[in-house]
Symmetry: C2
Subunit: 433 residues, 2 copies
């Protein structure tokens, strides 16, 4: 076999012909498997014994000579990139054949040289993890790193992050980092950075341009706005969620429009003006405590909440109710008799811990005044999450219970609009914009 890693080849077996890029020797697969990266970005392993022929279609492109490290250009502002892992910093792991977080900050800068033309880029690795593994301890550490960068006087901070829970982290940072002098933008990718279809570069560059070219300050997410590469959206950190498992434009603002659109042709269009302006003299206030024993519970037909009585450790609950904020609680007949237990459990719990209602419809807002069920649930002590996303309400409750142990104070804080997590006015036109 004369083909080398990086070569584009066609592998011929009795059953099929597979075209792709030959990958380096697998670490744990042993010598008897050939790994090809297919055009769609996925990898496939082929048993060597079955291979009749490997045709060389195109030799690997020559590695360019290692670039000199870019010298800081004093005319350009400085952006700090904090890497936390995720798809944007991932490549294929030969142990499992799957994608894992592995790129170093140096790898990334080399992959996205455009970044260095926009700003002086400082880049460093904070974590190397999938986003869903993050806990409040990571949010706190990340906030500390942001604080350091702000003290060093940077123009803005980009956090590269896995997309699975990027919206939970953006909500957490919104509550921790109050009174931000400069922007903190979370950026992810839906396709790993070593794939041709990756959205990593465009999202990163749009974030850098938005930081440099606008007066925006605050926590936001910068991701693809459409499935093409035409624009990125800047989403408010507490009003955004991932709404598609794989599309590059998976992130959507809910109940409000994104702050802005960053077009690939150089234009930046603001869709809202209700943001804090950049002001390097403003003093950041950090409030970083969280309570971890908080749950987000999705309501569904014939749910039985009785198990909550045994959760003695539970310090707060966000319910993702149905419709305007309901759960099964009316006993109408023998079949529904059991529904009544739900409201009794909740009534007992709300004497000790805050229970907040949100809606699994995601869009719109909780209104427990409309139906008798909602009124009964309110009478049982459940408080309204207004139009907060369930994910944001969950993060907020964990954060609120880090600020106070007093039940009434916690309930008051949940009702209070602290960092824009409750919309002043729901923009009806923003539904599936």
């Amino acid at each position: 076999m004369s083909a080398k890693p990086g070569d584009t080849v066609e592998v011929v077996t009795p059953e099929k012909r597979v075209k792709g890029i030959l990958m380096p020797k697998p670490e744990l697969f042993g010598e008897d498997t050939v790994i090809l990266k297919l055009e769609n970005g996925y990898n496939v392993g082929i048993d060597k014994k079955k291979i009749k022929e490997i045709k060389l279609l195109e030799p690997a492109k020559e590695q360019k000579a290692k670039k000199e490290k870019a010298k800081p250009n004093k005319k350009l502002p400085t952006i700090s990139i904090l890497h936390t892992g995720g798809t944007i910093a991932s490549k294929v792991d030969y142990r499992t054949g799957a994608v894992v977080s592995k790129f170093t900050p140096e790898d990334m800068l080399e992959m996205f040289p455009e970044l260095n033309r926009t700003a002086n880029i400082q880049s460093r690795l904070v974590f190397q993890m999938f986003s869903e593994d993050m806990r409040p301890g990571h949010w706190q550490a990340l906030a500390k790193e942001v604080e350091k960068e702000i003290k060093a006087g940077v123009e803005g901070i980009i956090i590269t992050h896995g997309t699975d829970t990027m919206h939970y982290t953006s909500a957490a940072l919104s509550f921790i980092l109050q009174n931000l002098p400069v922007p903190v933008l979370l950026v992810g990718a839906q396709r790993s950075s070593d794939r041709g279809s990756s959205d990593a570069a465009i999202n990163l560059i749009a974030a850098a341009r938005f930081i440099i070219e606008t007066d925006f300050s605050g926590v936001a997410i910068c991701m693809h706005g459409t499935s093409e590469d035409k624009c990125c959206y800047i989403h408010q950190g507490t009003k955004v969620r991932k709404l598609h498992a794989s599309r590059r434009d998976a992130f959507r603002s809910v109940n409000v429009f994104p702050y802005a659109k960053v077009f690939d042709n150089g234009k930046i269009e603001f869709l809202r003006k209700d943001y804090a302006k950049k002001d390097k003299k403003r003093r950041l206030e950090t409030k970083n405590k969280f309570e971890e024993n908080v749950s987000l519970i999705k309501i569904h037909p014939f749910i039985n909440l009785n198990y909550l009585e045994k959760c003695t450790n539970c310090k707060g609950i966000v319910l993702e109710g149905t419709g305007l904020g309901h759960f099964p609680c009316n006993a109408l007949d023998d079949i529904t008799k059991i529904n009544k237990e739900n409201i009794e459990v909740v009534r007992k719990l709300t004497k000790k811990i805050p229970i907040v209602m949100t809606s699994q419809t995601l869009y719109g807002q909780v209104n427990m005044n409309v139906y008798s069920t909602g009124r009964d649930i309110m009478a049982a002590g459940v408080i309204s999450g207004e139009d907060m996303l369930p994910e944001t309400a969950f993060v907020k409750l964990a954060w609120v219970l880090g600020q106070t142990k007093n039940l009434e104070e916690a309930k008051k804080l949940m009702h209070q609009n602290i960092v824009g997590e409750i919309a002043e006015r729901i923009d009806e036109k923003a539904f599936l914009y």
Copy 2:
């Protein structure tokens, strides 16, 4: 006070002037409160002692003489309407001031006389309940009523239903009522039928027209397609969810387009052709057993699944994972050590019960092959819910465990596309169509 219930009046108090329709004497509020229905449809109570004046603006319209009961027109086909309660059949309850399910089938026919011009309408009350209180026992009873109507030879069946969990019920009926000879359309309303802005009439009439004018058969939801009254969508029963708490066009098909658009100008446009054709000779197969001890669990950062070990009664679980189907399970440091417990609990449970992964992104599909976390979760015995909505996967699992107690068979059925709940091909264009 000379104004009578039904009169449009202006009530003058020292603080304000309120215009609205005077409502009948409240049952439980006592004699000291006047109730006005405001133009926006909400009711307001005003303390009689504060009232300085009640000005009559417009007297109540005279009640029309009671209409003769429409005689069946033998030239028209017959549609059966089964009422189950919900907003579409609701009015204000003076006990709580909130909306409750109360209209009789006769009330509804009188309110929507257009229906009788389209078809011979048979209408009867099956339940009087909010949808979220429904349990499998109600789904079974409803399916039996549908069966009766089909035996009687009707052209189609309309089920009026609360919107909170209408998509759970439409999924349930899709699995129960296989091989349907005629259409079964669920219809709801986002505004109660005694409000001017109600969508009840248009949804009902669109459903009746769709039944009469097309060759469609199967379980579907018929609801407003836009916030105006221009068209209704016919959504596949297993690929639809409520995505807004209050908008009239809250129901959206996910990963596929709706079957059809029913325009108010008389046109019906099909967006898909992959439906079973009406065939009154086809023999309905009813499979109505469910297992109730099934949970739908939403994953979130720092979730601790340990409590599941104590749920000895649990017969099946659907996880609403993050992204492509993940939960926190990697131990990278001291902070994340605890994440590892999640996968160990799951590994133990999957030896006894099926655990199915879906995604909280709602759109797109689970793919646990892409990341090492997904592979680890699969290795722990969790099976993929493909592109099934979490709500549909939950209903399906409860239904599957009603069909078989065998773990391997249940897992096989979850993978199998039984009634179109797993898309043959996800229509990327259907994202936020």
